[in-house]
């Protein structure tokens, strides 16, 4: 054990994963078990009372999943993490821990469409009200603050538009309002951006995307930054009030700077149940070991593809923050200096029909609704994910008839470009 702080790539391979204590197995074993034998009733009581660290039931903790959690916490520079069955479940877990009926939160209107749906519709059943703000108009976040505001939510690198959010400006507004800033870091990954260093208090991921990176396993995670003073705020009863679920324990007093992750686990996940499978945790953990290598290639390929499309006669426009003349380029250089990610949109000349022709004529690209795979992916939102909207609504959502979204993979970049050229030639 050295006092040297390990670098990012070392953490990606090692953090949280010691050899198996019983067998010495060096790869993290898949603990495919539901439950764990108690030593005696005293040990069981200590575990149920949160007095000892240890596993009871895989819905609450699992040794394979725990390695994934420790590793992502280390990569994000947080204190602790809690994995879920999906990114949506993680997001739900965060708000369940923070909000009570009648509370509000402020969210950027430049978000993954699934999050917009979750906030607008599903959360209504719980009495949680979203108030939308525009990251292109930072003051709109400040204007949305009320005495019921309990959190601010943004994506560091927004899906799909490639918008980079000015995290420090939004963090300052959240701090002034006395509420935590939650940042969805799915598209950037901690290799490109570590939001906690810019003032975020909680980070959330869909691990399904670049973190796992191979398009084979669903997962989500929240990271506790350990930086929010729950006691000073007093507006988050799960953290600061005696909990009837555990005979009156006050989690903030007992678990210090990782109390949020513990609260989300023992008061949320325990009862709501969206636990990740240990097998998925293992697959994602294996993916994370190569995150720095993959992201380097993803970003280099994406920049080359964006430059090529920008100069292509059949392309109207390209929005990629890595391009020198992109409106988000300066902010990207500040928050994601190593690269602008691998997901971006462009407009194909000829509108709706041209978009449909392009996705129908590519061969290497997969036509599907995911991002962050080793494989290159393509989608035409107007004919798929945003099909039910009017043209006007499509445009407002950044899914106009000409818009095509790419998630650039790690294949040979010449093959990726040749495939797009072949598709565009049919337009």
């Amino acid at each position: 054990m050295s006092e040297r702080r390990p670098g990012f790539s070392t953490l990606a391979v090692h953090a949280g994963a010691a050899p198996d204590p019983a067998t010495g197995a060096r790869a993290t074993p898949i603990y495919q078990t539901t439950s764990y034998v108690f030593e005696d009733v005293d040990q069981a009581a200590a575990l149920f009372g949160l007095q000892a660290f240890g596993n009871i039931y895989t819905r609450i903790t699992n040794p394979t999943t725990a390695v994934l959690e420790s590793r992502v916490a280390a990569l994000e520079g947080g204190t602790a993490a809690l994995a879920y069955a999906s990114g949506h479940a993680a997001q739900f877990g965060i708000f369940h821990t923070l909000l009570t009926p009648g509370d509000e939160f402020i969210a950027s209107n430049k978000l993954y469409g699934g999050s917009i749906n979750q906030f607008n519709h599903s959360f209504k059943s719980f009495g949680w009200q979203v108030r939308w703000a525009d990251p292109d108009d930072i003051a709109s976040f400040e204007r949305a603050v009320t005495d019921r505001t309990r959190a601010v939510f943004v994506e560091s690198l927004a899906n799909p538009g490639g918008i980079v959010v000015d995290l420090e400006a939004i963090a300052a507004i959240a701090r002034k309002a006395g509420v935590p800033l939650i940042v969805d870091n799915t598209l950037a990954t901690p290799w490109l951006c570590r939001p906690i260093e810019h003032g975020a208090n909680i980070v959330v991921h869909s691990l399904t995307k670049f973190m796992g990176g191979h398009g084979n396993s669903m997962g989500g995670i929240l990271v506790d930054g350990g930086t929010f003073d729950w006691a000073a705020s007093g507006r988050y009863p799960m953290l600061t009030e005696p909990r009837p679920e555990y005979q009156g324990i006050v989690l903030n007093e007992t678990f210090g700077n990782f109390a949020f992750a513990i609260a989300a686990r023992v008061l949320g996940l325990r009862d709501l149940g969206a636990a990740i499978s240990p097998f998925n945790a293992f697959m994602i953990l294996t993916g994370i070991e190569t995150l720095p290598l993959r992201m380097e290639r993803h970003c280099a390929n994406a920049l080359a593809v964006a430059r090529h499309l920008k100069a292509h006669g059949k392309v109207e426009w390209v929005r990629y923050a890595g391009l020198d003349d992109d409106p988000c380029h300066a902010v990207q250089q500040k928050y994601l200096p190593k690269g602008a990610g691998a997901v971006f949109t462009f407009g194909v000349r000829g509108g709706y029909e041209a978009g449909v022709k392009l996705v129908s004529n590519v061969e290497l690209f997969s036509h599907l609704a995911n991002i962050g795979d080793t494989r290159s992916l393509i989608i035409h939102p107007a004919s798929t994910t945003h099909r039910q909207l009017t043209d006007e609504q499509k445009r407002a959502a950044g899914a106009g008839p000409e818009v095509v979204r790419l998630s650039v993979g790690i294949e040979d970049v010449d093959d990726i470009i040749a495939d797009l050229d072949r598709g565009l030639a049919q337009v």
């Binding site: 050899p19 660290f53 725990a66 947080g78 210090g256 686990r265």
Partner: protein, 174 residues
């Protein structure tokens, strides 16, 4: 020495060498953090003495509590302060008056008193502030990772299994 951060080796040398720990402010209430720490350190084989005037003569976790440090009646290796920072200096004075004095003064998370620390260090006593011995033990042994908490270090050495189920240990206590 600086008390803004501690090397793992420093914490490990303390937790690996002390045997007798007096917890000043140990609560008999089983959901209070001080009770958690008492119970956890007992389970790790430490000889722990609860110090709490309101509980003197009673037992906490099966261990007799005393009213003050001077009532312990045997040498103490470490005094763990579970009281507000303003009380820390007074407790350090009491600890340094013991014969022999403790080898370590530990102040819990949220407790930092640099004046008290300087006094202890001038007397040759090692000091840890604003940390929890339960969390530090669990972190260095590897148990804390089960709760998704990151340890802050990487190691390719096998964790030390301790007797019982789901228990890790740190280096043998000397």
């Amino acid at each position: 020495m600086s008390h803004d951060r501690y090397d793992d080796a420093y914490i490990l040398s303390i937790l690996g060498s002390v045997r007798t720990i007096a917890i000043v402010g140990a609560s008999a209430n089983s959901v209070r953090p001080s009770f958690f720490v008492l119970k956890y350190l007992l389970s790790k084989g430490y000889d722990v003495i609860p110090v709490n005037p309101g509980q003197a003569g009673r037992q906490i976790c099966g261990v007799p509590a005393v009213g003050s440090l001077k009532d312990i009646g045997r040498p103490v290796d470490m005094v763990d302060i579970f009281r507000g920072w303003r009380d820390a200096e007074k407790i350090v004075d009491q600890a340094l008056a013991l014969d022999p004095p403790p080898k370590v003064i530990w102040m819990q998370i949220g407790v930092r008193n640099d004046t008290a620390a300087a006094k202890a260090e001038a007397a040759g006593v090692r000091v840890v502030m604003n940390r929890c011995p339960k969390i530090e033990y669990a972190r260095l042994a590897g148990e804390i990772g089960w709760a998704g908490v990151q340890s802050g270090f990487v190691s390719s050495r096998r964790p030390r299994l301790a007797a019982g189920f789901q228990r890790f240990g740190i280096l043998p206590r000397g």
